[in-house]
């Protein structure tokens, strides 16, 4: 029996391909059937006409019989699908205008979704270059009562992580360092990541050339090795494969190049090269537990859940806290915890990205509504064609499949062009967003994105194909063929549906526009936030003094004194200063301190604040005002009476009575007491609003800061290691900064030709960069809202124009009967504007509901900000007016003679 089925299947397959011959034979067979029947009937005494009629009726219709026969002959599904596709292709080619608009609309919708999905997938789930990102965690520490919510960890903590081999399969520490490499007498600044040997293993990163570190190389006093990044290998060494084994001098220390990483691994980003961190044994000692200086990552063992890792860290935390030596940590509610790496890196972007994903979803819906509208308009025009086909024996299912095939073709072409659009958009996106974010974006369309795009295209084909398919399937051949005029008038139901589509589009466009408007306004407000200093007219740059040359406070102070003298002498400079960390410079450090004659009560972790180290004119150069006491001056130099300046936050927290001046404080127990000589305005340090986040970690806004005089204490490293990277802050005028930027390297060269200057930026650029991802997201949202407006405008335009074309005769009659052109104009505009106001009303209601969700993302703007709504509604109405005006003009020009003659 199976064999029979197989044979039948084979025959049917052959049937599917020998169609023409079989079709001929079938016609012939049926013809001979009818002839024989007619001959019999004639013999039975019927008239010729009766005989033929009877034969055909008994047969049940030649065409209908053929259709039934065909179903059995080949594989109708396969055959029909091919036929439908071929037919659909011809139909699309016959209407190039329609096809072009539909495919472009879909390509925009699908392309936008593809690009944003690629970003979401890359940033939130599968960062490029990290194959098992879901298993990589950042290990962090918090001090709840010190307002440090997530900071780096200590080597001691790290040792515990590394030893937990049943939880973590690999773990590594990292700390960045600014180094200098001199090639052909030109100093280049090199961003090095000092890493422990398992760094690459945590990320499953394999080198392109050579190898990565082995444990023996991660030891103090070991021979120095370096692994180059792809970018550095390419730009500084011309992709020379002979680089392996060569020795390069970093800060005048020789390093042997042992490997080159591929372009896909850039972590942390940016990084020029990796060198062993080579921590000493004593760094891992128990006493160093609360000296947090390093960024740590770990890879979960396969099968270990995040929950289990958290549980382990909880146990670790309580074990540490039971030690009596951990009293301080206990009081400040210290804890170790882990954050999945994508969330740690890009957690902030989650909400903006999901908002964008929602926005492109709307754009796609609008695109689908547009195409559905176009198809429906065509469906009305093709009603007669379908009626004829139904009369000739096509089943309604067949007709639906046929329209779906056309939709499928449209969606397929939309997908193809959408992928292209998405790919281009993705490339644009990579340039748009900040470096550390762009690293997570896939460089091309990967499998996830491809599958997503295909699913989106298929879904849209169903969405926009369903409406016309339903309409066709309801066609009654009787009705349609009877009204001999061609029955091109749309049914009331389809008209209502098209109106619904257009109103819906306008409503969705309004929602997007409101969202974009609110965010733009919020961004504007953020840019006006008082950061505590004057960013305008401020130029900044960075230098890093190598520790082996500038190893004493004297040398460090002398360098800055000379450099600042030169910079102040540059025409156009009103003041020049140096300091670190610089607001919006990215790095930061906090530390406990003690206050003279103040005993810390039991259970209190004691005073704690951010540290800064600044030169004499720092406050005047940045425009930070002195609220009490004085600024640093020339007397505050090496060897003079130690002094300190604190900001108003620190003053408020520890001297709430306002009596901070003259009090004495110190950071470490052995340090001399420093007298507080001034209180300055608090400044925003890393972000314009919300919690601060720097290289150390996250801390709540409003944390106090204490400033050391740099020229008195030298250039100590607050972060551990060599002298810290120090920023130059030069106050000019907003107009002369680009000219001043050129004079900085020259001034530095005059003081020490070996020192490179880097990161030359205006303060306004730095602040803008801190808003970077948010701004990019808002730009994109605005773009999508504009796209939505454009698409829905096209939808409205197409509908009104189509109606005008349909009603040409009617308009002609009206004009002939005395309607004025203004009447016609009003009629057409009225029809369009009714839809616009419906859309407007619905859109406003939806916006108000949705915007409430956005409120937490908005700064200083109410989600129901009336100004935004009014402006957006006005923009929408203007666009709609234009979309209706063009066809209305055409309606006015209808010549009654021509229109009536048409009848």
């Amino acid at each position: 029996m199976k064999l029979r089925l197989l044979r039948a299947g084979w025959m049917r397959l052959r049937g599917a391909f020998a169609r023409e011959r079989l079709e001929r034979e079938l016609s012939e067979e049926l013809a001979s059937h009818v002839e024989m029947h007619v001959a019999d009937n004639l013999r039975a005494g019927m008239t010729a006409q009766e005989a033929r009629r009877d034969a055909l009726m008994k047969l049940g219709g030649v065409e209908q019989t053929k259709e039934r026969y065909r179903d059995r002959r080949g594989w109708p599904l396969l055959e029909n699908a091919i036929q439908d596709l071929a037919f659909g292709w011809r139909m699309l080619r016959k209407n190039p205008g329609f096809t072009l608009v539909a495919v472009l609309t879909l390509a925009l919708g699908i392309g936008a979704n593809t690009a944003i999905f690629a970003a979401v997938n890359g940033i939130l789930f599968h960062p490029a270059g990290i194959p098992h990102a879901d298993r990589v965690v950042a290990v962090r520490v918090r001090y709840e009562t010190l307002n440090l919510s997530s900071i780096v960890i200590s080597p001691t903590d790290f040792r515990d992580i590394q030893d937990a081999t049943d939880i973590f399969s690999a773990a590594a520490l990292e700390d960045s360092a600014d180094l200098k490499i001199t090639l052909d007498a030109v100093p280049h600044r090199v961003l090095a990541a000092k890493v422990s040997w398992q760094w690459f293993e945590v990320f499953d990163a394999r080198p392109l050339l050579g190898r990565v570190f082995v444990p023996e190389e991660d030891q103090p006093k070991a021979g120095q090795e370096a692994v180059l990044s792809y970018g550095m290998w390419k730009s500084l060494f011309g992709s020379d494969a002979g680089i392996l084994g060569r020795t390069i001098a970093l800060n005048q220390t020789p390093y042997r190049v042992i490997g080159v990483m591929g372009p896909e691994f850039q972590f942390p980003n940016p990084t020029d090269l990796w060198i062993p961190i080579a921590l000493a044994r004593e760094d891992f000692a128990a006493g160093n537990r609360f000296n947090e200086n390093y960024f740590a990552v770990a890879k979960l063992k396969p099968g270990v859940s995040h929950a289990r890792a958290q549980a382990f860290l909880k146990v670790l935390t309580s074990r540490v806290l039971t030690d009596p030596a951990s009293e301080y940590a206990k009081n400040s509610r210290w804890a170790v915890f882990a954050v999945p790496l994508p969330q740690f890196l890009y957690g902030d972007l989650r909400t903006p990205l999901l908002i964008l994903l929602g926005a492109v979803g709307f754009v796609l819906l609008i695109a689908c509504a547009n195409v559905a509208g176009l198809l429906l308009a065509r469906a009305t025009g093709r009603a007669r064609e379908f009626a004829v086909r139904a009369a000739l024996g096509a089943s309604s299912g067949r007709l639906v499949r046929q329209t779906l095939a056309e939709s499928g073709l449209l969606a397929g072409s939309g997908l193809l062009f959408g992928l292209l659009t998405g790919w281009l958009a993705l490339r644009y996106l990579r340039n748009l967003v900040a470096l550390d974010v762009s690293a997570a974006l896939p460089s091309g369309i990967d499998l996830y994105v491809l599958l997503f795009a295909a699913a989106v295209a298929a879904l849209s084909a169903l969405v926009f194909g369903a409406a016309p398919a339903l309409q066709y399937s309801r066609i009654d051949p009787q009705d349609n063929l009877k009204s001999g005029r061609g029955a091109n008038t749309a049914t009331r139901g389809s008209k209502r549906f098209r109106n619904f589509l257009v109103s819906g589009q306008l409503a969705m466009a309004l929602v997007l526009l409101v969202g974009a408007g609110l965010f733009l306004k919020s961004l504007g407000r953020m840019q006006q936030v008082d950061v505590g200093f004057r960013p305008s007219g401020l130029l900044t740059a960075a230098v890093t003094l190598p520790g082996n040359v500038y190893h004493t406070a004297e040398k460090q102070s002398a360098f800055f004194r000379k450099l600042l003298d030169r910079l102040s002498a540059v025409p156009g400079v009103s003041s020049a200063a140096a300091g670190y960390p610089l607001p919006f410079g990215g790095r930061g450090a906090t530390s406990s301190f003690s206050i003279e004659n103040r005993v810390v009560p039991a259970g209190d972790p004691g005073p704690h604040g951010g540290i800064a180290c600044v030169t004499t004119d720092y406050f005047s150069a940045l425009g930070i005002s002195i609220k009490q006491g004085r600024s640093f001056n020339g007397q505050d130099r090496l060897g003079s009476q130690p002094v300190m300046i604190i900001d108003e936050n620190l003053a408020r927290e520890y001297w709430p009575a306002g009596d901070a001046l003259g009090k004495r404080m110190r950071r470490n127990d052995g340090d001399p007491w420093a007298t507080i000589i001034g209180v300055v305005t608090a400044v925003r340090r890393t972000r314009v609003i919300g919690a601060e986040s720097d290289s150390e970690g996250q801390m709540s806004a409003g944390k106090g800061v204490y400033y050391y005089p740099l020229l008195q204490v030298g250039n100590p490293d607050l972060y551990g290691g060599a002298p810290a990277t120090t920023f130059l802050a030069i106050r000019g005028t907003p107009g002369n900064l680009s000219a001043l930027a050129k004079s900085i390297p020259a001034a530095v060269q005059e003081v020490d030709p070996a020192q490179p200057v880097f990161d030359v930026q205006t303060m306004e650029q730095r602040i803008a960069a801190s808003l970077g991802p948010r701004r990019s997201a808002i730009d994109l949202l605005t773009f999508f809202a504009a796209l939505a407006l454009l698409l829905s405008g096209i939808g409205l335009f197409a509908l009104v124009r189509y109606t005008v074309a349909q009603r040409t005769q009617e308009i002609g009659v009206r004009i002939a009967l005395g309607a004025t052109r203004a009447d016609v104009w009003r009629m057409v505009m009225g029809q369009g504007l009714r839809l616009v106001f419906t859309g407007l009303a619905v859109g406003c209601v939806v916006s108000v509901a949705l915007a409430r969700v956005l409120q937490t993302e908005l700064y200083d703007v109410s989600a129901s900000d009336p100004g935004t709504y009014v402006a957006v509604a006005a923009g929408l109405v203007l666009t709609a007016l234009l979309a209706c005006w063009l066809p209305a003009r055409r309606a006015m020009r209808v010549d009654p003679m021509v229109a009536l003659r048409y009848e």
């Binding site: 029979r4 044979r7 039948a8 025959m11 049917r12 049937g15 034979e25 079938l26 012939e28 067979e29 049926l30 001979s32 059937h33 002839e35 024989m36 029947h37 001959a39 019999d40 008994k58 047969l59 049940g60 219709g61 209908q64 019989t65 039934r68 026969y69 179903d71 059995r72 002959r73």
Partner: protein
């Protein structure tokens, strides 16, 4: 067509096979007339339904077709039983009579019960 389709098609196939066995090679029209004569109104609805059934039987290898000339000198497609068709006919006929016998007994008993 509807629910009766399967039963009807099975029956029709059996009738076609039987007709061809009785009358020898025959064209579609001839088969249709023969079935109509012996089965009364059953086929009167549509001769057209015969052709897909013929095609199915041919695809399954129970009948074969070739072009020939009819009694009154018309070119027509003639169908004839194959050896597999003969066997199939015997099997189907036996199954059919078994089924009808079972059904007859079943219906008869039901009458008793009521």
């Amino acid at each position: 067509m509807g629910d009766k389709k399967d039963v009807w098609q099975g029956t029709l196939a059996l009738m076609v096979l039987k007709t061809l066995e009785t009358l020898g090679p025959l064209h579609g029209y001839g088969i249709a007339r023969r079935i109509e004569q012996t089965s009364g109104d059953l086929l009167a609805v549509n001769y057209g339904t015969l052709y897909p059934a013929l095609l199915k039987l041919e695809q399954e290898g129970y009948i074969a077709s070739e072009w020939g000339v009819s009694d009154n000198n018309r070119r027509a497609k003639f169908y004839k039983l194959t050896r597999a068709g003969h066997k199939q006919l015997r099997r189907e006929a036996r199954e059919w009579s078994e089924t009808t016998a079972i059904l007859a007994r079943f219906l008869a008993r039901k009458e008793h019960a009521s």
